[in-house]
């Protein structure tokens, strides 16, 4: 176990409270430890990129890759569409902090804000896990469970490591696939991530192997894996089948104000890959993530994307159906409360014949929260008999809540069948009334209806996640009745 953790490269950035203009950091009044091992310069510069690569003792090609990505980021500039990012100032951000060898120096349990601690308790997260989630714990007690699983996976030839270790231990496999799905040219934040990435998961499931127990990044959880610029690379060899789960429903507390991950997935022929993630960052975080899967012949890719936390999220899991008969599926839930903007969605690109896709998005806006669905369905010429269906439902709980739907549909193929539907509605007074006549308190009635609204997505979650999600919704709905 310890070998996974001694090679620590990055922790949650412990200095955010000092940064100017970060309201939340101030609000949380984080006490800081100043004894990190290495800290880069502020801002994103070529020097910082070189420092990171040097500190990680990386091969030459990775340094060159990072520098190329840095140049691309410089040239590209930030996107001009989507949510307001004007408060996000790179010059205030440390792009790389390597903490002391000793884990859990980011703060102590007592420093974690009361509301976050309370939420953990209410959700029934075990004490040790609470600490790990808050970024202040050492590895938590599921270590034994993890070891047992790890031994089993190793027998099957499954590789499940953090990305830095993956690069060291499997350089060829890594190089073969790294940045092939999301090149740095793709978008500005992918370029930034490519320049400064650190941590994330590296997963390889060999040909024909079915992994019954979900691979959970939970088990790898340490500061590194909830890092700012995680880079995850997942490869499903032909005929493999597995479910990878990232994050969890409990709030992940971080003093980082900026999180920008890149997740690349390769689904080779006939593989079945699922990637589930639920982010619940504290409400001071800009969460700008690029997720994409390349799906080959008769393979299928399923995304489950839950967005509950953060200040602003921009995340559109995308699926490139490049092999005949490939299938892609996206289930997306977003919950935006006061001050949050969840700009989530999905992209599906049909390139090959007989490819199919389905997107179901459910969003809830509460208080002054705003949820947006932003999506793209493309059917290229030659992708004969492609079928795609998109459904977006939005629920508005308050007068000041907002919702948007921005689906782009581009079709260049006569035999394509493409549909899109969206509805927007508020909580139905009659339903609430009915439940209240049955003895439910008003907020319990509302929570029940909201849970019912999310049910089609929640039932796809592993049980423990679904339970947590339901509890979380109850929690969010408490006090909604003025």
């Amino acid at each position: 176990m310890s070998d996974l953790h001694t090679d620590t490269t990055q922790a949650v950035h412990p200095d955010a409270a000092k940064l100017e203009g970060m309201e939340h950091a101030k609000q949380y009044e984080f006490k800081l430890a100043e004894d990190y091992f290495f800290k880069s310069d502020r801002g994103l510069t070529k020097r910082v990129v070189e420092q990171i690569s040097y500190m990680k003792n990386e091969p030459e090609w990775m340094l060159k890759f990072r520098l190329r990505a840095f140049e691309i980021a410089e040239k590209k500039g930030r996107p001009k569409w989507g949510p307001d990012l004007s408060d996000l100032n790179f010059d205030d951000i440390f792009f790389y902090v390597r903490p002391n060898e000793k884990q859990g120096t980011a703060g102590s349990w007592d420093d974690i804000p009361e509301d976050v601690r309370k939420t953990y308790q209410r959700l029934g997260v075990p004490a040790a896990e609470q600490r790990a989630l808050a970024g202040v714990g050492a590895q938590y007690e599921s270590e034994m469970v993890y070891h047992k699983l790890k031994a089993e996976w190793e027998k099957l030839g499954v590789i499940f490591l953090d990305t830095d270790t993956g690069l060291k231990e499997h350089p060829e496999l890594f190089k073969e696939h790294f940045a092939t799905v999301i090149p740095p040219e793709d978008n500005y934040f992918a370029a930034v991530n490519s320049a400064v990435w650190s941590g994330g998961s590296f997963v390889y499931v060999p040909e024909g192997v079915h992994v019954e127990v979900p691979l959970q990044a939970y088990f790898l959880l340490n500061a590194e894996n909830i890092g700012q610029f995680e880079r995850t690379l997942i490869i499903g060899a032909p005929g493999s089948k597995f479910h990878y789960i990232e994050g969890c429903t409990a709030p992940a507390y971080t003093s980082n104000s900026f999180h920008s991950g890149v997740i690349e997935i390769v689904c080779q022929e006939n593989s079945h890959v699922r990637y589930s993630t639920i982010q619940n960052w504290s409400h001071n975080v800009y969460n700008l993530v690029t997720q994409r899967a390349m799906v080959h012949e008769h393979a299928s890719m399923g995304w489950l994307d839950g967005n509950l936390g953060s200040k602003v999220t921009m995340k559109y899991p995308s699926t490139y159906l490049v092999g005949e008969g490939a299938h892609g599926e996206v289930l997306s839930i977003a919950f935006a409360t006061d001050g949050q903007h969840q700009d989530a969605g999905a992209k599906v690109i049909h390139v090959a014949p007989n490819t199919t896709s389905s997107v179901v998005s459910k969003s809830i806006s509460k208080g002054t929260g705003r949820s947006s669905y932003r999506g793209l369905v493309q059917v290229h010429e030659g992708a004969t008999n492609a079928r795609s269906n998109v459904e977006c439902d939005a629920l508005l709980l308050d007068e000041n809540a907002r919702t948007d739907t921005f689906p782009y549909i581009e079709i260049n193929e006569k035999t394509a069948h493409v549909g899109h539907e969206a509805t927007v509605s508020k909580l139905d007074d009659e339903q609430i009334f009915y439940l209240m006549t049955r003895g439910l308190a008003e907020d319990a009635a509302m929570a029940l209806i909201v849970r019912g609204f999310l049910d089609p997505v929640a039932k796809e979650l592993p049980l423990e996640y679904a339970v947590e999600l339901n509890r979380l919704i109850e929690l969010e709905m408490e006090g909604s009745v003025g």
């Binding site: 308050d398 948007d404 493409v418 549909g419």
Partner: protein
């Protein structure tokens, strides 16, 4: 790449020569000068401009063209004569180039003004001044600015309070020479008044290229009702761009249909702003792009008031290497509670090389609303074709029946049988249905 570049013909001199040629009042001259400034201040759209992202901008270029002047021939084209003979309109105006080549009206109802904008400025200046540029003006786009600065003539309709005009009024806009053509329609329907109006754009093919920029302003006062048809069937040497916008007062109702069949490239921006509680806007659209045509349509349902209802249905077919783009937006303002807003776009792909883009969008800032949108794109359903063929229809006939039926849903909601029949004939002519020529 800048697809569009500036045109020296759009100049202060051009504005002043219109102002002096028609001895325009000072207020209008000032409006034109301000519009020209707004035009100069706005950049040309590029592929990077979101609203124009899927527009083939080069096809809407007017660089190198002169402002369209008098027609070569002031006769009314035969195709328009036949259309008039076949219609039950109470009044018709025909614009050709910058000339009014026909104006006939037998309006029974009292106080209705139906004339060209020049005459209206002379006889009803206060009425024109009170409404011109209220709804479509230079602040909106480069093209509305161009129109606002340099329009020469157009159509003006005014229906006084409580007056119901029983039979339709209509304007035909045609041309026989190229350049930059500018058309403007101003419709004002007073409190509890009622009107049906048809704007039709049509021409026989001619050699030069015509870029036509139309502005349609619709003012519906409280309780006013308007049925409005915009029927675009230009010859293929024309590029057509039209901003068609209505402001609706309390309990006002708009029923509009935008039909795009002709021209080489056409962009229609169809917009309703619901300003009075209880107002209703129904905007229908029908298009059939073939032989490389590029149709670009944008709809906006802007709910700025509570208890509004709006519905959009745009249906179209695309054949050959043609392209149809539909982009729609529903905006519900924060206090526009009890809004009902719907938006549907359906596309039929008739060819391997045909292309469809559909972007139905919602921006909702009130919670007590019912909003939905739907978009579908696909080929003619195989099972339906099979059924018709099992009944003995040849494959191409089955396709004609199915395409016509698909588009018929839109025309069936237009309670103007003469218009519906004409549209059906043009569609069938496009489909190549034997024996149906585009009877004119």
């Amino acid at each position: 790449m800048a697809a569009l570049t500036d045109n020296p013909a759009v100049s202060a001199d051009a504005v002043e020569s219109i102002v002096s040629a028609y001895r325009e009042p000072a207020w209008l001259a000032d409006e034109r000068r301000a519009a020209l400034r707004a035009y100069s201040d706005q950049p040309f759209p590029t592929e990077k401009t979101e609203e124009w992202r899927y527009t083939q901008l080069k096809r809407f270029s007017f660089s190198g063209l002169e402002l369209a002047k008098a027609p070569k021939d002031e006769s009314v084209p035969e195709r328009i004569r036949m259309r008039i003979a076949d219609s039950d309109a109470e009044g018709v105006i025909v614009h050709k180039g910058n000339k009014v080549v026909m104006h006939q009206a037998t309006i029974k109802e009292a106080g209705v003004v139906f004339t060209d904008l020049r005459t209206a400025l002379r006889d009803h200046e206060a009425l024109v001044r009170a409404h011109l540029y209220d709804v479509v003006n230079a602040r909106q786009t480069k093209y509305t600015a161009l129109n606002s600065a340099l329009w020469e003539n157009g159509t003006f309709v005014y229906v006084p309070r409580d007056v119901e005009v029983e039979l339709p009024l209509g304007a035909f806009t045609t041309a026989d020479s190229g350049g930059i053509g500018l058309g403007r329609t101003l419709i004002v329907v007073e409190v509890n008044a009622r009107l049906t109006f048809i704007d039709e754009y049509t021409s026989e093919p001619f050699a030069e290229r015509l870029f036509f920029d139309a502005a349609t302003e619709i003012v519906l006062k409280d309780g006013a009702k308007l049925r409005y048809v915009s029927l675009q069937n230009w010859s293929r040497n024309v590029a057509h761009i039209n901003k068609l916008r209505a402001h609706l007062g309390r309990d006002a109702r708009l029923e509009s249909v935008t039909v795009s069949l002709g021209a080489d490239a056409a962009r229609a921006e169809v917009e309703s702003r619901l300003e009075g509680p209880g107002s209703e806007s129904e905007m229908l659209g029908l298009y059939f792009a073939d032989e490389g045509q590029h149709f670009n349509q944008f709809t906006l349902q802007h709910h700025a008031t509570p208890r509004g209802f709006s519905d959009v249905l745009f249906k179209g077919a695309v054949r050959d290497a043609s392209q149809a783009v539909y982009s729609g937006m529903i905006i519900v303002d924060p206090h526009a509670q009890k809004t009902d807003a719907y938006q549907t776009n359906r596309n039929l792909l008739l060819d391997e090389v045909a292309e469809v883009v559909s972007i139905p969008q919602l921006e909702i800032a009130a919670n007590d609303v019912k909003c939905s949108h739907g978009s579908t794109t696909g080929p003619v359903p195989e099972d339906q074709r099979f059924y018709l063929m099992s009944r003995g229809l040849r494959p191409e006939v089955a396709e004609h029946v199915l395409v016509t039926g698909f588009l018929y849903e839109v025309m069936s909601r237009v309670t103007l049988p003469k218009v519906a029949e004409y549209v059906e004939r043009v569609v069938q002519a496009k489909l190549g249905v034997p024996g149906v020529k585009e009877k004119l």
